[in-house]
Symmetry: C2
């Protein structure tokens, strides 16, 4: 079991990482002194599979537990769902102290975190992420949000959890495609900050894909540490330090959007975005062939796509221009010099972006 | 013109107080470097009366201005209104930097502040309070909220404005009852923290009621300073320091609620709540007769009620027990020892509360 600390000026918190540790959750929450009543936001699948185990561990530590399930789709990330959760919480919140447990993937984490942030100007919440993507990324750092029809994540808050509790054994509930989607973010952490993690992935990707606890704990811990350190330095994305986490996301988001958020999941789109960002890095003479080849090899080894299918070049370019990572009319890319070394480059000629993109279609 | 500073660890801000200064607003916002596009949330009355003046001052300083009016009733403080404002903002927010100006009383300030807090995880906002109540209290301190059918202010955020810009001349738009409602909070500041302010009110209440600029600026500045100092020490009501601001509010809220938020406005209910809290202080031997008599005299001199009408004793007691200022099953009152000196007292026997209440019915 590993304990990391996300250090913040106001309220630091722990990230606990282990395997088969769900039953210990209550003990960790107890130490926080945040209340007695756990309001667990999850989905039906997770509740059926792990609900009893989760509840037993909490009740044993003296907590009352109430489950609330929401459909596990992006549609749940709405103001309407957050409002209905809050109305349900008010009925349960009888003068005792209530806190929220987000038990699920990114959708549930974002929704539950946002709900906790606005109920009575903020009640405590705990992240118990159940997907690899959420475990290595979205559960850490306090970015909460819901969507509008006008765009994803347009409504939200920076609101930190009081604990991130990551049980690698929960990943057994995922299908292989979801695991691979999470691995895209793990590869990203290796590329932007951690050559050792990248090399570990190259050597052990089979262990990871077969969900060996040791390998999973290793990669989750390395990624969580990187994310926690970056967030600790730039909690609200004001200093540009968090920017490197967007490696692969500029084109990745455009691909996701051009596919109408259907054809590719987030990890697959980011894998393609990373390949194109690394192609651009090579074309600009920042990274060499060997480096970009290693990236492509690893992405393909874990079963992530290396070619874009069924989306037009024009569609991606159009979405790219809508991206919020444009500052004014400038584009801005996170590029790489080597594994573990990044560089932010502005105003890359459209010709180079187009070339890199076309080579992947 | 007076400039106060609300000192916070993360982001301090100025409170500007003057008379006939609306045209200077642009110059003050310019210094903040928070964007180019002002999204002004207000009501139709204020827009018709001051919209041109406000707009000219902003345009002169290089800002674009868009007005959005909402009905000036508590019903506007809803998640639905906040959502519709955000959808409107997304249409206006074209890659340039947008910020919100809350131009109104407490309802608009709370709603606009909450809207700004959740759009894109927070965009800057400016408070330009137009009622006395908002100028001396709600515009300062970053408590934003909207209501649910389950209760007032149940959804919200602590989210500080980047500037509070208070123009005492705007109070000319108020009717006498609204001015008196604000004076209840001014009297409260005197009682809890500022014997000099209280004495000023005793001597100059006629100047204040006839809206003499000098008298208004004096009381607004004293109150804003007290509020700013308290918020600076206890931004999120975690240390109990903000508690004294609740003087008169325990019973006051119960009276407001028992009257269905119709019979009494907030200031009138607080005036009654302060009288009862001061009666309780006397009954417990904390304050002497002369002190409580001065309070009653001043409240009556400014035309605020000293007797409760048309609400039953039972109704108030029932609402009192629903109050969030109960900690567990204990009651908790802010009481007084003298003008300017408070004491928090827990677990006051119901008999004493009832006695004090009955004497005011």
């Amino acid at each position: 079991m590993h304990t990391l600390k996300l250090k913040l000026k106001k309220q630091s918190y722990d990230i606990i990482i282990g395997s088969d540790i769900l039953r210990c959750l209550g003990k960790y929450i107890q130490k926080l002194d945040i209340g007695k009543d756990a309001y667990v936001i999850t989905n039906t699948f997770l509740k059926n599979k792990y609900g009893d185990q989760l509840k037993r561990g909490l009740v044993k530590s003296g907590f009352t537990v109430r489950f609330k399930t929401v459909p596990d789709t992006e549609k749940s990330k709405s103001i309407e769902t957050a409002t209905s959760l809050i109305k349900d919480i008010t009925a349960y919140d009888k003068k005792k102290k209530i806190f929220v447990v987000a038990f699920g993937g990114g959708v549930i984490g974002d929704l539950a975190g946002f709900t906790a942030s606005i109920y009575k100007r903020g009640i405590p919440y705990i992240q118990v992420p159940t997907t690899l993507l959420a475990q290595v990324d979205s559960s850490i750092g306090g970015k909460t949000a819901v969507d509008l029809s006008q765009g994803k994540n347009l409504v939200g808050a920076f609101y930190q959890p009081r604990l991130v509790f990551t049980d690698a054994a929960l990943l057994k509930s995922l299908d292989a495609r979801q695991v691979r989607a999470g691995l895209a973010e793990v590869i990203k952490y290796g590329i932007i900050k951690d050559a050792r993690l990248f090399a570990f992935m190259e050597n052990k990707h089979k262990d990871i894909l077969s969900l060996k606890p040791g390998a999973l704990e290793f990669i989750i811990t390395r990624c969580s540490k990187i994310k926690a350190d970056i967030v600790g330095l730039d909690e609200r994305e004001e200093k540009g330090i968090r920017t490197i986490l967007n490696f692969g996301h500029t084109i990745g988001h455009a691909i996701e959007a051009a596919a109408g958020f259907k054809g590719y999941n987030h990890g697959e789109a980011i894998a393609l975005g990373m390949l194109i960002a690394s192609d651009i890095s090579r074309k600009l003479g920042l990274a060499n062939d060997a480096t970009t080849q290693r990236i492509e090899n690893l992405i393909m080894a874990v079963g992530l796509p290396a070619k874009i299918k069924k989306i037009s070049f024009a569609g991606i370019i159009k979405m790219h221009y809508h991206d919020k990572k444009f500052i004014g009319s400038q584009n801005r890319f996170v590029l790489i010099k080597d594994i573990g070394k990044t560089r932010i480059v502005k105003n890359i000629p459209l010709k180079i972006i187009s070339q890199a993109l076309r080579e992947r279609i």
